[in-house]
Amino acid sequence: MAGGHAHPLHLARDSAVHRLPAEVKIVAVLLFTVVVVITPRAEFAAFAGYAALLAAVAAAARVPLPWLAKRATIELPFVLLAVALPFAGHGERVTWLGMSLSVDGLYGAWNIFAKGTLGVVASLLLAATTTMRDLILGLDRLRCPRVFTQIATFMLRYMDILADDARRMRIARLSRGYDPRFLWQVKAFAVSVGALFLRAFERGERVYLAMVARGYTGRLPRPEGADASATQWAASALLPAAAAGIAVAAVLR
């Protein structure tokens, strides 16, 4: 869709997945994540199945796997904790490469790592195939409280302007010989963060005035657009339905 809200996680391609309305994709990712999270941690085959499903979606969306893998590294800080679990866990222990590891801890680490990765990759696929603007419109059509979608809309518009302001202020600081190397030189930076806040605040006032001048009475007009069709809902239901099928099969086996 047009809009051109390029965010670093978006991959502009034309595919069946890109063309699906945002709201059906949001629901699909949410349900898929729920299925992944409630799957018992020892069902290794089920997790392999989920990964295969995501790979299929990525192929359909024409999102290259290396592209996904690179961006999935965002989860690393969160799974770091998992590395400690096998060492710190209690109960039965196994010895591997001279290290005494807790079996329960190993399962715990696997649980965090597998579920985290699947969730992150699913979200990345959503982000890669949906622009920011469509995500917000999708949330809006899913009856997400309008306060949230409005705040997100404003953020989408003014984030870049704020970043530009900050960049210009930084260049102006550097141009006057500011080159902070030590903590006690951070004052100018802190002051300019304050200045940036004031500028944002004052801009907020001016934006509001300009909105009032165009008849704003506290309610943004609801964006127009057709609702998703049953076919589109069915298409996007494939992912969570297949995942649920795998989960049920794994548990009943």
């Binding site: 047009a2 809009g3 051109g4 809200h5 920011m132 603007r133 917000i136 809309t153 404003f154 989408l156 518009r157 003014y158 870049d160 302007i161 801009r203 001016r206 934006v207 005035l209 300009a210 909105m211 009032v212 001048a213 165009r214 008849g215 704003y216 009475t217 943004l220 007009p221 964006p223 127009e224």
Partner: protein, 266 residues
């Protein structure tokens, strides 16, 4: 005789800290007239502009738009006033807050309760008037400053205003964008009140000028006459660019657009 487009009488205003901004302003604009509001920084120009659609109020005096008095307490009446008086603010980034150009242009008319095809028609018409149709789905942030200023004009035109009020329309524009904006403004069939420090731009676009200083109107007449009065300009901290000769410029202008200084009453 038709009612004046704008009629301000005896307008006073003081900010909450007690500083007086307007000390009895009288201003009358006929339909179709283009007038410049000149004055130094702090003269009360912006304060006056914010009175025209009832955003600021509370002092003595009255504002009438197309014969209808601005009553800040009357919400329905105020909505109509805000349709009639379109204000284009100085910084387009303040005015353009929606994610795409078309959505922003639709914001004003949607507030007036316009929906569906009629809304789309308004957006198309306003964007065509400022020659920005090709950019309708773009992000405002990705447009040039001159383009954003034009979109800001379109956001107001979409409300089909009777009076277009522009705050410093030529500020930060390069000469080409400045000329393009002048052509657009000249083509619009509305009353225009242009707040500016840019005296050549006032001469180019507005046959009539009003000088505001310390909250009152100190001069009101043909732009060419006011700009030729060096003492008047000096007394109110207004200055022509170095080397600019208003009489010569007016002659040049007359050749392009017809006799300058003649009130264009439509």
């Amino acid at each position: 005789m038709t009612a004046p487009s704008l009629n301000v009488t005896g307008l006073h205003f003081a900010y909450p800290d007690g500083s007086a901004a307007l000390n009895g302003v009288d201003l009358r604009l006929e339909p179709g007239e283009r007038a410049a509001l000149l004055g130094p920084n702090g003269a009360g120009k912006t304060t006056l502009v914010l009175h025209l659609n009832g955003i600021l109020h509370g002092g003595a005096g009255t504002v009438e738009v197309g014969g209808v008095r601005v009553y800040p307490a009357d919400r329905a009446g105020l909505a109509e006033i805000r349709r009639r008086v379109g204000i284009v603010f100085q910084d387009p980034d303040d005015q353009l807050f929606m994610p795409t150009v078309a959505e922003d242009v639709a914001f004003g008319p949607a507030n007036l309760g316009i929906r569906g095809d009629e809304l789309r028609a308004r957006v198309d018409e306003a964007l065509a008037a400022v020659d920005m149709t090709a950019h309708r789905d773009q992000v405002p942030h990705h447009l040039s400053f001159g383009q954003r200023r034009r979109v800001a004009v379109a956001t107001v035109l979409a409300m089909r205003p009777d009076i277009l009020v522009l705050d410093e329309p030529s500020s930060n524009l390069d000469p080409a964008s400045r000329r393009e904006l002048a052509q657009i403004l000249r083509s619009l069939p509305v009353t225009v009140l242009m707040v500016t420090h840019d005296l050549p731009y006032a001469l180019e676009l507005c046959p009539r000028s009003v000088i505001l200083d310390t909250g009152r109107v100190v001069a009101d007449g043909r732009t060419i006459d006011l700009l030729a009065d060096a003492d008047l300009l000096a007394a109110h901290r207004l200055e022509l660019p170095f080397g600019f000769d208003p009489a010569f410029a007016a002659q040049r202008l007359a050749r392009v657009t017809g006799p300058a200084g003649e009130a264009v009453v439509g």
